[in-house]
Symmetry: C2
């Protein structure tokens, strides 16, 4: 038996686009002699469809796509994910389902049992879990169908769940497992994925074919990396990351095993590739081509513009250099040099005239008040307004350049440098931004060295440095990582050796700035805990604040 | 037996504050001879605690509050909601629990079974549902303990659920039902609440005591309205809305019934009172006192400033009038008149100098480009910057004045008039804003009549009217209501009689503006479907767009 896996960049709600990609994949799989083709979870509508699922019309359109695929299932089995109606009146009225289509018929449906409802996932908001499990027989083979999370409770050892769907099917002695996934990227996920697939294969002693999505849906990035694992527990094949792919595998060869073929898993490279795809797909799926951003001469905007250029091409990236009276000469030079290295168009607009106009306008009200963060924010907001004006006039999307460390502690101006359609580095700590910069400069110096080595500064008052207001990033970032990604509380952090006063200060900064993050741009997610839908915090909460 | 219900304005994560209110209530109940006092759902930590629940420290502090209440349970039974650890390794590691404390001991715990996971609710993200149900015997009475949603599946007829917790307890023949709730306000909720309580009482033939939260937690407002219902199905008592309350009821009297005492339920008044409380609690819980906002002379900012003045006092409200060259003379006069009527401080700052500075700065780039929405947005962003500058300098919170109709169709400038810490009218359609204005003017003309009767306009270009870009609000608002609150899709809307082209145009406007709402201020929720956590839509989704 020949089994095709289709790793596709779906687009939420774009039924026509998704269907046309799937029809092309079916055609190609047929040409390559495949008996069976497997798509991803909720492939017809894209993932995560969120509250679109609450519209009857959305479910009807999903079903129409399943119907269209059924029509082309002559001579090939098609396995595809789609939402389906729960015919029973009790419980949520939808299932997250895998359809098995063959010769113009639905020959089997398996619903998803384990519904992730944590981090970015809300599946229990929409779906009723499956309670019955049967294999599907196709061309003499018994196939265990599973959807994404269904394979993540091996031997019932995952404390989140109380049932193991594949355990329920094994008494039927299936020949192999198919898994339809929509499993989002984080920089450690590819390793975890292979581990869990191996645990399943070792438990059941049969091969597992795993089809994932690729592509970004706003903040959530899918890396592909679809996998075929032989009964020997070796990776028979792992599809490339961050690109579409269709391959046909011979079941006999997979059963024989003895082949190990993995993709390289370098953290910085993975983050880099994810961000480039994240930018590209955000623009493509919204129907935009051109990006704009401000270049400060600092490292964050430098890294962002290089990534944007890779994603969109230098001809589609435009930058503004917006020096104030507090900007160092170096900053403008570094920014200009970077723009020239990349070949992107740049304009220099000094913000002083606008700043002075605001100063004059507020003179009466601000009489006798000292210069403080207010005046810093005015500068940042003038820049935001200039960038948005260019964006509005010429149809650019503004890229936000705030990094995760700043976003965590609220070191940024709402409606100022926090503006943007998408945040490129909002899930990348400052220390990781340096790693990215060095990675981008590995072959040649694209980012001027000075932008990398000089002490970080917002340049909003004379002689300002980040270190005036923040602990050094080498201390701050590990503390933030333990608090945000690892959910360690004050007691645990102090036990780990972080200084008590620092812990209190940093946790307070994180918590009192929830109101800023609430209004931040969506953040391309590359870690296991990004800001956004995956981290839901009260704004008026008085806790560790 | 004497039963006290405590209706309290809790504060998420403010363990000390919540405990001190509860200790005072226990003391007062004891003085009034109560045998038993009942607090709300998750009272120790406030509701909704969201991802704070993922911190061990947060659970420890919750448990410490239960412990402290246990210590004062000499001579009185205390029923209180708190998160508790699931001792079993399978399933989510927390329960949403009701503790029954008496004489320094925990004499019973009932976990919540029905975990709302829709709209603003995410309970299945954190909690394992209860599977066992027992009454608790206290002073010779058998008490059926239930938590909020547990009473919302009467006779298993709610399609969301498959179990009815009270049905499970009835074979023990309880004497009455206690329900600990955290049931958020919407303008139709008080009626629904009484209906569901009545359905329970009629099914079981015993009284029901229902203790709700009051107060606002950012966007989510609790209206109180705690209820005692006699076996005759009459409302023995309904506590006032939007305020704290402690009352002691005699069980014998409640059993006798024959008394009907409800709060008035006028939609506009309810929305008005909810918004005033929403503003007040947002400031109080964040530790702020003073608000600022821009007054345009239009109806939205007029209604907002009146509500703010009621919530915070005129001495704590400051307004800016920021005319542009496109503002009508009337607008400034109306705004000034309103400020004077309210006795709030106002400043007039013309935005022309800043606007001209931006025009000059962008002259090269904008050469040959016609005036368009870009220039309109620049004006809105200058105003946002001025308001935020005042806010930053003097410690005001900026109130956002965008209404729900505008927010829905994206008729507003991101980082401009969409700025603000909290959106006061973002869940109030324009036609409802008029109702509010008339309500506020009922006793005397506070809002100048001209602000109410003149055609709505953003005044960002010569002679501009809302009706240039939008359908009339009398048509737009019902269409939006059917789409947003009632989840009607294009087919159903057209069947209802809305014109097809209009349906397509409006739904497209709603969907393509998701990116703006993603960065909007939190919206005080007064309807059954507000923008924010209760409505989760993809940004890059290509559906009805």
């Amino acid at each position: 038996m020949k089994i095709a896996l289709a790793q596709i960049d779906y687009h939420i709600g774009n039924f026509e686009g998704n269907l046309s990609k799937m029809l092309a994949a079916v055609e190609s799989a047929k040409e390559q002699g495949a008996d069976l083709i497997c798509f991803g979870e909720l492939a017809v509508c894209g993932y995560p469809p969120r509250d679109f699922l609450e519209f009857d019309d959305f479910i009807r359109q999903s079903q129409a796509s399943v119907e269209a695929l059924k029509q082309v299932s002559q001579g090939i089995g098609i396995v595809v994910g789609a939402p389906s109606r729960n015919p029973v009146k009790a419980g949520k009225d939808l299932y997250n389902s895998a359809y098995f289509l063959s010769e113009g018929e639905v020959i089997g449906i398996q619903h998803k049992a384990l519904l992730p409802t944590y981090d970015i996932f809300d599946e229990y908001r929409y779906f009723e879990p499956a309670t019955s499990f049967q294999t599907i027989t196709f061309k003499g083979k018994k196939i265990a169908l599973s959807i994404c999370e269904d394979i993540w409770n091996v031997g019932n050892e995952n404390p989140l769940y109380t049932i193991c769907p594949l355990d329920e099917m094994m008494h039927e002695k299936p020949d192999f497992i198919l898994n339809l996934s929509a499993s989002p990227f984080d920089y450690a996920h590819a390793i975890a994925r292979i581990q869990v697939i191996r645990a399943n294969v070792e438990r059941y002693g049969i091969p597992l074919f795993y089809a994932n999505h690729t592509g970004a849906q706003t903040d959530i990035i899918f890396d592909g990396g679809s996998i075929v694992m032989s009964p020997d527990g070796q990776v028979f094949d792992e599809m490339p990351y961050f690109e579409e792919c269709l391959k046909v595998y011979d079941l006999e060869e997979v059963l024989r095993g003895g082949r190990s073929s993995e993709q390289p898993k370098n953290k910085v490279q993975l983050i880099h590739d994810a961000l480039v795809l994240g930018i590209r797909d955000y623009f493509r799926k919204l129907g935009f081509k051109k990006a704009i951003l401000g270049l400060s001469g600092g490292i964050d905007s430098a890294v962002t513009v290089v990534l944007a250029t890779k994603a969109l091409g230098p001809e589609n990236v435009r930058v503004l250099l917006m020096p104030s009276q507090f900007s160092s000469g170096h900053s403008v030079d570094d920014a200009r040099q970077l723009a020239e290295n990349l070949g992107v168009a740049y304009d220099i607009i000094a913000i002083r005239p606008m700043y002075e106009a605001f100063e004059t306008a507020l003179k009466t009200q601000f009489e006798g008040q000292p210069f403080n963060v207010t005046e810093e924010n005015i500068q940042a907001r003038i820049r935001g307004t200039l960038l948005m004006a260019m964006s509005n006039k010429f149809g650019h999307i503004l890229l936000n350049t705030t990094n995760k460390s700043e976003m965590a502690v609220g070191y940024g101006t709402l409606y100022g440098d926090m503006c943007g359609g998408i945040s490129v580095l909002g899930d990348v700590y400052k220390t990781e931004v340096y790693e990215l910069a060095n990675y981008l400069n590995a072959a040649a110096e694209v980012i001027p060295k000075n932008s990398i080595v000089k002490p970080p500064s917002a340049e909003l008052r004379p002689g300002q440095k980040d270190s005036d207001s923040l602990p050094p990033y080498e201390i701050l970032d590990p503390l933030l990582f333990q608090y945000i990604e690892c959910h360690q509380g004050p007691r645990e952090l102090i036990e780990m050796g972080f200084e008590e006063a620092l812990v209190k200060r940093v946790l307070r900064m994180v918590n009192i700035n929830e109101f800023k993050r609430e209004q931040a741009a969506p953040v391309l997610r590359v870690s296991s805990k990004g800001f956004g839908m995956g981290r839901r915090m009260p704004i008026v909460g008085k806790y560790l604040s």
